[in-house]
């Protein structure tokens, strides 16, 4: 069974010689908030229009609720609420009158649907203010009210917080989160504001110049883009144990048997290195510079010339080599260090 409420396959839109959207494969899961993030002119609105059938598709396919919208409009549209670009209403009518028209056209059976929708967005019911006198924020709220009035399963919102004040943004954000989490609605929302998508979306699609650059969950994206220190070790299981014993509470992730990442950038890396050095062999990753205190290793005069031109010293069962591009200032080693530890007397990396 298809879990995707919206699925596009190689969706493309070309205007003359300009490609507005190029081979976009979008997957919006049921009950989740999907944030479509991109700059102005990236193609977010064009994608939404194609999804809704408001503009023709040059090539590719769109499926809503597992069906192609063409020929199924009467079945599919009542399940969708949408705002595309700026909300359009009749300026000679009040907000309530505008919503009543669309409620009547939709055949919305609930008599208080308009009243409830206006209440949710914080607009007055049956007031005398014409739409032409509305501020941008009020127009946006009315658009949201129109989208939610008939309790749709899917909301497609094109920059819904545009023009709202910070309190209004927080209110709408909370409302959308409640809709998704508590009532299982699916929401496709577009924005160029990173912070809003970060706060709101469960999944994210990043679009640039018509191309979908990235599509993943927010959690995955955060993990992927976090800063980390990469350690290449002989045994990640042992290294993890050492880490937890010596530096409890450190956030790390084991990639495989020999590679692990530490995400806690506040940690003292020299302490981590020392912990590893004195327990097991580690090989530090090449881009990382660190300072290791080698005082005891070199004061005991056990240094010798290394085969590659550097200097090597013994530290218990550890053999520590300084490569030619590192240096010893009499107290500390600066640069890249190779550390070899033998448990059984032989050299082990």
């Amino acid at each position: 069974m298809n879990d995707f409420v919206i699925e596009t396959k190689q969706l493309t839109k070309i205007y003359g010689e300009q490609t507005a959207v190029s081979k976009v494969n979008l997957h919006v899961k049921k009950g989740r908030i999907y944030g479509l993030l991109g700059r102005n002119g990236a193609g977010k609105t064009t994608i939404m229009k194609m999804v809704l059938g408001l503009t023709s598709i040059t090539s590719g396919e769109v499926q809503l609720f597992g069906k192609n919208i063409r020929g199924q409009e009467k079945r599919i549209y009542p399940r969708i609420g949408a705002i595309i670009e700026t909300p359009g209403f009749y300026p000679n009518l009040t907000g309530t009158e505008n919503l009543e028209i669309f409620a009547k056209l939709r055949g919305t059976s609930r008599p208080d649907a308009v009243k409830n929708a206006l209440e949710v967005v914080g607009l007055p019911y049956k007031d005398k203010k014409l739409f032409s006198k509305y501020s941008l924020g009020m127009k946006q709220r009315l658009g949201i009210a129109n989208a939610i009035m008939h309790d749709p399963e899917l909301l497609i919102l094109d920059e819904p917080i545009n023009g709202l004040d910070p309190i209004g943004i927080a209110e709408i954000r909370k409302f959308l989160q409640d809709l998704s989490k508590e009532r299982g609605k699916t929401i496709l929302i577009s924005s160029h504001i990173l912070s809003e998508i970060d706060l709101l979306a469960d999944d994210i699609g990043i679009i640039h110049e018509g191309n979908l650059l990235e599509e993943s969950s927010m959690d995955e994206l955060r993990k992927k883009n976090q800063k980390y220190v990469l350690f290449r070790v002989s045994s990640t299981a042992t290294a993890a144990r050492i880490l937890e014993q010596k530096c409890g509470g450190v956030k790390y992730r084991i990639e495989d048997d020999n590679v692990m990442r530490i995400y806690d950038m506040d940690i003292d890396l020299s302490m981590v290195n020392q912990a590893f050095i004195f327990c097991y062999a580690v090989e530090s990753s090449s881009p990382i510079d660190f300072i290791v205190s080698m005082q005891s290793a070199f004061y005991n005069g056990k240094s010798r010339t290394h085969g590659n031109g550097g200097e090597c010293a013994e530290l218990g069962t550890a053999s520590i080599s300084l490569y030619p591009f590192s240096y010893w200032d009499g107290n500390c080693v600066h640069g890249i260090v190779g550390i070899y530890l033998s448990e059984t007397g032989g050299v082990m990396r």
């Binding site: 009749y90 000679n92 009518l93 939709r106």
Partner: protein, 158 residues
């Protein structure tokens, strides 16, 4: 859909303006009748003048403008997308607007007819029921004929 289209005209200047144009056209016919030297005055000549102005000056332009404005405002006010995702098909929307245009045409005919009665009463032109019947019939037929004549413009070129 017809209800929705009628509601969309609430507080809009289109209908009052159109009725105003019809009244002015009828008034012009009155001025033409009374201003011309040696003209035959009376109820039926007055209605003929109104009829002539309707056909040549007012109705073709007014009906076309009315119908095309109804459709065009969906684009200018950016409300078409809201209608299409209800869903209301584009052809149904157009059909509803043409229906409203037809109703409006009958309204214009009625206003013209009313103007002829009022002006005749004000100027004390004698008339009887037969004259009223003839005037109404003429205005109705010519009004409908104008509507049919301009309907292709509204239906196919919008």
């Amino acid at each position: 859909m017809i209800w929705a289209e009628l509601k969309k005209l609430k507080r809009h200047y289109l209908l009052p303006l159109s009725i105003g144009v019809v009244v002015l056209s009828s008034l012009l016919a009155l001025f033409q009748l009374t201003g011309a030297a040696n003209s035959v005055v009376g109820y039926l000549p007055l209605t003929d003048g109104i009829l002539w102005n309707n056909i040549t000056l007012t109705f073709p332009f007014l009906i076309t403008f009315f119908g095309s404005y109804l459709m065009n405002r969906e684009y200018s006010e950016d409300t078409l997308k809201n209608n299409l995702i209800v869903p209301v098909s584009y052809s149904k929307l157009k059909f509803a607007k043409i229906a409203i245009t037809v109703f409006a045409t009958f309204l214009f005919i009625a206003v013209s007819f009313l103007c002829s009665i009022v002006f005749a009463l004000v100027l004390q032109y004698p008339f009887n029921l037969a004259d009223i019947g003839i005037a109404f019939w003429k205005l109705l037929v010519t009004g409908i004929s104008c509507l049919i004549a301009v309907m292709p413009i509204i239906a196919f070129f919008l």
